[in-house]
């Protein structure tokens, strides 16, 4: 029998996943800044401290490097920590432990250990929080072998991928777009997982493949709905995992549509779009391309405070529509 499905917000779905993980496995615990009585800066942990107590929902001091390192050490020695960064931007303070330690420990020790840590990063712009609280740094971590990096785009995936991350024996980094936290969607009760490393075709189409990540998935779907009325049939691939990337799903889609556009919020150059484009250029799908590949990404600037400028620095639905139209009609 199917589990009961309810409408939950993305934040509620994550909270439910963490609660299930803690109920199922006493090694699972939460660490982060103000995740206890405050409920987390974005109310993702909410009231979990009341259910699980301060021993398993641990407020750390404001010590990102140390905190992340403690989580890595606990994971190395048998626990299953889920570490919340208050903003993904503060990963920069903890890079040492993430990149030099968590990612490489198993390799350096010849497979004698593993580091089953989960780290959660509220990411992205759109809240008026300016340059140091609005970045999309997932590609930084995506560049590091040893890490798995995921970007769930829906409440359903947020829950299922978090549970998959907790079950995973290696470090998993989850980038959660802050503007998604209040987005609602169907979420089944109980335990289920959504595999890491599998993309999802969110809309089938014949004319153009849009590979999107995180909040851009919904924007791409919104654009596709408008384009449909114009006779342009868009396929939307939700990448979901950026490391390890599901190449085959993208290749198959491009072979079908012969056109590729990548849409993501992070700074356009040297990022996910470059990786997906190069991967296609290296694959058998290259011969199928009818037009140059298009990337829509963030502007080459830090995120500004002024709201109009802030919006202008990341792709919006009209930008996707215009770019898709030009691509399909062969306008360069």
């Amino acid at each position: 029998m199917d589990a009961m499905v309810r409408e939950l917000s993305y934040a509620q779905a994550i909270q439910e996943a963490m609660a299930i993980a803690m109920e199922m496995d006493e090694r699972v615990f939460l660490m982060g800044e103000d995740i206890g009585v405050y409920g987390g800066a974005f109310q993702v942990t909410g009231d979990l401290v009341e259910r699980f107590g301060t021993e398993r929902v641990i407020d750390t001091p404001i010590s990102e490097l140390g905190g992340a390192g403690v989580a890595v050490g606990a994971a190395l020695t048998g626990m299953r920590p889920i570490f919340e960064f208050q903003f993904s931007d503060f990963a920069t303070l903890a890079m040492e432990q993430i990149v030099n330690q968590a990612a490489k420990m198993r390799f350096m020790l010849g497979g004698e250990v593993s580091v089953p840590v989960v780290m959660r990063f509220p990411a992205g712009s759109g809240t008026g929080a300016a340059a140091q609280h609005s970045q999309s740094l997932e590609a930084w971590l995506g560049h590091v072998p040893g890490l798995k990096v995921i970007q769930p785009a829906t409440p359903y995936d947020a829950k299922g991928m978090l549970l998959a991350a907790v079950a995973d024996p290696d470090p998993v980094m989850i980038f959660e777009h802050k503007l998604l936290y209040k987005a609602k969607g169907p979420v089944p009760e109980g335990y289920y997982t959504v595999p890491i490393g599998k993309a999802d075709i969110r809309r089938e189409g014949r004319d153009l493949t849009i590979v999107a990540t995180s909040i851009m998935v919904q924007k791409a779907l919104d654009a596709a709905a408008v384009l449909e009325a114009e006779g342009i049939d868009v396929e939307v691939v939700d990448l979901r995992t950026i490391r390890p990337m599901d190449k085959q799903t993208v290749i198959d889609s491009v072979k079908k549509t012969s056109r590729l556009m990548c849409v993501y919020e992070a700074v356009k150059t040297l990022g996910i779009g470059a990786e997906v484009s190069a991967m296609i250029a290296e694959s058998e799908a290259f011969d199928y391309l009818d037009a140059p590949i298009v990337r829509l990404g963030g502007a080459e600037t830090p995120i500004p405070y002024n709201p109009e400028l802030e919006k202008a620095t990341v792709p919006q639905v009209p930008d996707i529509i215009t770019a898709a139209r030009d691509l399909v009609k062969g306008v360069r």
């Binding site: 409920g39 001091p61 404001i62 405070y305 709201p307 620095t313």
Partner: protein
């Protein structure tokens, strides 16, 4: 510097530091600026509620004596690094509220031309090297500014403001150590308002007083009541003298309290109403200073009223200025990423 005559000075001999050190005009101006900080933040809060300002903001209401006291002995050439809770520091160091409002409204006339907002407010011309979105981010930067001062022999003293929460970041410890080893002209000012967001110092910090940590870096650690202007100013004065004399850094812990929540998204579940109420009604820094000024005969009720009226006018004018100022154009999104070169 005090401008008081000998007779006046003698009559003040038993009064606290600032009343011996500074003129009545200077002290009245301090009261003016404390009100300016308070009303600026109330004005910003009100504008936020009305949707004129977006994002979030961190109000320092209740901490005005700390900002003013620390900046009192600083000259215009001296520099500060500030924090996410930095409006008071900015005004205390000499910023104009109209350009601060303009920044909050995202306008080109703002101190950061609408790019930074509340969390990055700065006034470089007046020596404020900027608020900071990163807890502890400004501490090593202040040490770097102090290194410049020493290497370039400018004689500048640098103050780094930060909160109690910041003293658990690695940057704090690394910065204090270097400042002490190199005897740099920097003053570390921990504004301990009891909490880093929801986490009390008792739950986050292994020492009872942040100032205790000074011992680990061989510098003086001074604790002051951050709500008493004179106490803060005296400690700052001594630390500035020490820094200018080439004797190195000081850590000042200014114990204070923020009346408002951490930011605009605080449910205030970690403090009791009684605690907040006690600080607001019994230890408000502006009330305490105003009462002293009155008691010692530096000002009367009419003088206080005049200050309040003048501050209200400056705030109203500042908001009008901000509203009337132009927004940057979206074509200018790429400006200032790199230095413009001819």
């Amino acid at each position: 510097m005090g401008t008081a005559s000998k007779a006046v000075a003698d009559s003040r001999a038993n009064l606290p530091f600032v009343y011996r050190q500074y003129s009545a005009e200077q002290l009245k101006h301090v009261l003016y600026k404390m009100y300016l900080i308070r009303r600026f933040e109330e004005g910003a809060e009100d504008s936020y509620t009305r949707g004129l300002i977006h994002g979030t903001m961190h109000l320092s209401i209740g901490q005005e004596a700390s900002a003013m006291g620390i900046c009192m002995p600083l000259g215009e050439d001296d520099q500060i690094t500030s924090t996410h809770r930095g409006h008071g520091h900015c005004i205390a160091k000499g910023a104009e509220v109209k350009r601060m409002f303009a920044e909050f409204f995202g306008k080109t006339t703002g101190y950061c031309k609408g790019r930074g907002g509340s969390m990055h407010i700065a006034d470089v011309a007046k020596g404020n090297l900027g608020a900071n979105g990163i807890v502890g981010g400004g501490i090593p930067i202040a040490v770097g500014a102090a290194l410049s001062s020493k290497m370039m022999k400018t004689g500048k003293v640098v103050v780094s403001f930060f909160g109690d929460g910041a003293n658990n970041e690695g940057a704090f410890h690394e910065a204090l150590n270097m400042a002490a080893v190199w005897k740099l002209p920097v003053i570390f000012v921990c504004e301990n308002n009891g909490y880093g967001m929801s986490t009390s110092t008792a739950r986050s910090t292994a020492v009872k007083n942040i100032a205790d940590r000074a011992a680990a870096y061989s510098m003086p650690g001074v604790i002051v009541n951050g709500n008493i202007f004179s106490e803060v100013a005296e400690a700052s004065y001594k630390a500035v003298e020490r820094a200018r004399a080439g004797e190195g850094p000081t850590l000042i812990e200014s114990k204070t309290y923020r009346h408002r929540g951490h930011s605009k998204s605080d449910r205030n579940r970690y403090r009791t109403k009684e605690e907040i109420e006690d600080w607001m009604s019994n230890r408000d820094p502006i009330t305490l200073f105003e009462n002293e000024l009155r008691e010692f005969g530096f000002i009367d009720d009419k003088g206080i009223e005049a200050i309040r009226v003048a501050v209200a006018q400056e705030i109203a004018d500042g908001i009008e200025f901000a509203k009337a100022s132009p927004s940057p154009h979206v074509s200018e999104t790429g400006n200032y990423v790199y230095t413009e070169q001819a």
